[in-house]
Symmetry: C2
Subunit: 415 residues, 2 copies
Amino acid sequence: MLEKRTPLLINHAITKIMDQPIEGRTEEISILECDQRYLGEEILATNDVPLFTRSGFDGYALRSMNTVDASSVQPIKLKIIEELGAGMVASKEIGPFETTRIMTGTMVPKGCDAIIMLEAVKEIVENGEKYIVIKQKVSKGDHISYQGEEAKKGDVILKKGTKINPGVMAVLATFGYNKVRVAAKPKIGIFATGSELLDVDKPLQNGKIRNSNSYMIASQVIRAGGEPIYLGKIPDNLETCIQAVESALKDVDMLITTGGVSVGDYDLMPVVYQQLKGQVLFNKVAMRPGSVTTVAILDGKFLFGLSGNPSACYVGFELFTRPVIRKILFCENAHLRSGVAQLTTDFPRANPLTRFVRGKLCFENGRLLVDPAGMDKSNVVMSLAHTDSLAVLPGRERGFKKGDEVQVLLLEDEG
Amino acid sequence: MLEKRTPLLINHAITKIMDQPIEGRTEEISILECDQRYLGEEILATNDVPLFTRSGFDGYALRSMNTVDASSVQPIKLKIIEELGAGMVASKEIGPFETTRIMTGTMVPKGCDAIIMLEAVKEIVENGEKYIVIKQKVSKGDHISYQGEEAKKGDVILKKGTKINPGVMAVLATFGYNKVRVAAKPKIGIFATGSELLDVDKPLQNGKIRNSNSYMIASQVIRAGGEPIYLGKIPDNLETCIQAVESALKDVDMLITTGGVSVGDYDLMPVVYQQLKGQVLFNKVAMRPGSVTTVAILDGKFLFGLSGNPSACYVGFELFTRPVIRKILFCENAHLRSGVAQLTTDFPRANPLTRFVRGKLCFENGRLLVDPAGMDKSNVVMSLAHTDSLAVLPGRERGFKKGDEVQVLLLEDEG
């Protein structure tokens, strides 16, 4: 059962995956529950913003032409004819040398074309009438927000696939989207394979390790925008294993297995794919780590066979599974955001394969640096905890030096 | 009731807040529920990692000294004495020119000091016995992960206050943390003030706007790591308002109000603070926007009086409320991560006050750029949707030019 595998180039592997016809679904939920989800439709302005011409500050609405000659030497006086609280609408149109006390956000009364701020005037009383004294020229339009200046009714304000963050929330509420159509979260089943795996609550024993990949992948699924479904350990027996995969596939939108994809006698998953007549897109990629990643399609659903090695598993998910999830969530750019960063350390060892090195980004004097943690074999799991990016070191015949610029993929980008 | 306010410098305001004695609580939850939470205790290695000396690849365990003379001209032959599956433990110690078939992660059998990868050997059968043929020297330690090389039992692996991400999950599972002690999420009540505010599901009417700040702030609370509690609109009547604040404070860890903090006749909150005998830390800050932010302490709990203006409200939360939340979550650095970025546009208008301009970060040739969206008065709410950072423009007598380097605060940093 030793199998000869032909490695695919990374970009070809990703293209093969992204070319699969797969579509997201949408659902309508309350605005109170939509935070961090992805928009399932375009958001249109349901009215002009501002809806009415309004004041940008607490102050007085006036006719700017009345203030043309105002100065500290020659102050002018305007009579207060009305005082408006927030949400109140003026009952009087102002005439020459009249003014209305107005609040931030209040509709500007008819006849006014500018606001002067509260702090800039003095209020006086003469013969039982209130006036303000102005010592400066006020320009037409000062502190006024005009109807429709932010958006016109029907404008597309937000694209489908936008992640809902605090600012998006403000937009949704402003336009009265009490219910929001969002992308349904894809349900992603997670199976661990390997008879060496112990449950997390079990004491260690020789030759065994605890199943950490399932928990790691579940967290990666959440970060990508999906809903992880723990399916536990897959049975070691081929027949039971096939049944477990078939049965799980009915309840999920895609399935991730970790482990069991290497070239070796005890590796189940390639056989499972074969027996279930899955279409294997690839079973080897020209990269490190994660070269044995296998991706197949069964009944129109993705099966991601990720490596059992923690960092290979991590990288395989981010490169191959994450973009599928983001595509299902309608994201305009499904792939990891990329930038250029300087390495903070040397990597003397050359490698013919492209390597994805887990790293931590930092900024120094406006430059992006990446502090890689994955080059020596130690601290594989520990360094994953501080990883927020992957540095891409292309395969070549010499190593890399501190200060070399490399591509970095940002893992915590919100897309 | 017009009040004279003395603006505090931004850093003084933040220091006043952070100097308050306020402590977070912890709770123990299942590893299955701890994603995205903050660690409430140090995580120690509960065993050596690796627990036992193990193989890094599928291959054969051997004695490196047996391969010293191996070459393609002079291949050497090792007898396979045992074949181990994942999780299996060797029953035999290997002798000279013997080898054991071994899987990735399997315990290295006694007597072996190196692994040769499966792909690097040829298996042959002679007289009914299996052998491998090796054409290269194998170095001592090759592809072996030694017991304890990643961590020794008792090592502090993760600090209290670390945010739980996929890599942290892997660490927790590896060390058997089936239950995880995390920081309890602070409960943060959100009141909107302003008679001009409509509920999100209500049709617009003249002089009114929909309450968008509550939804925006709730999302900011979630991003910071807290639990938002919508309390709706605060009553306009002073007496009822005081009762509402008092009663709400019993159920939450802190309270945010939006609006009602400007200098004006209709502004309730300063009066409420006064009547409830809250200790006002400050009621004006030398900054734009958000200068009228008021922060008070009542019964040992924070009251954040944020502006009703959306961008002032947004900035006020990030500068003043977020660090308190992160402190309660035990984060080592409670403040927003900061960097230096080049402006992508001019800001000709000078301002004596420090401005916080909402922006979107991008990378270009390894440099950090910030594309600011907040300088003209239009698109206030809409541009918040694309904001991932705040550019800090210090007060000065001239404006800023495209290419100028400014400090940026990263809003989506995980801390």
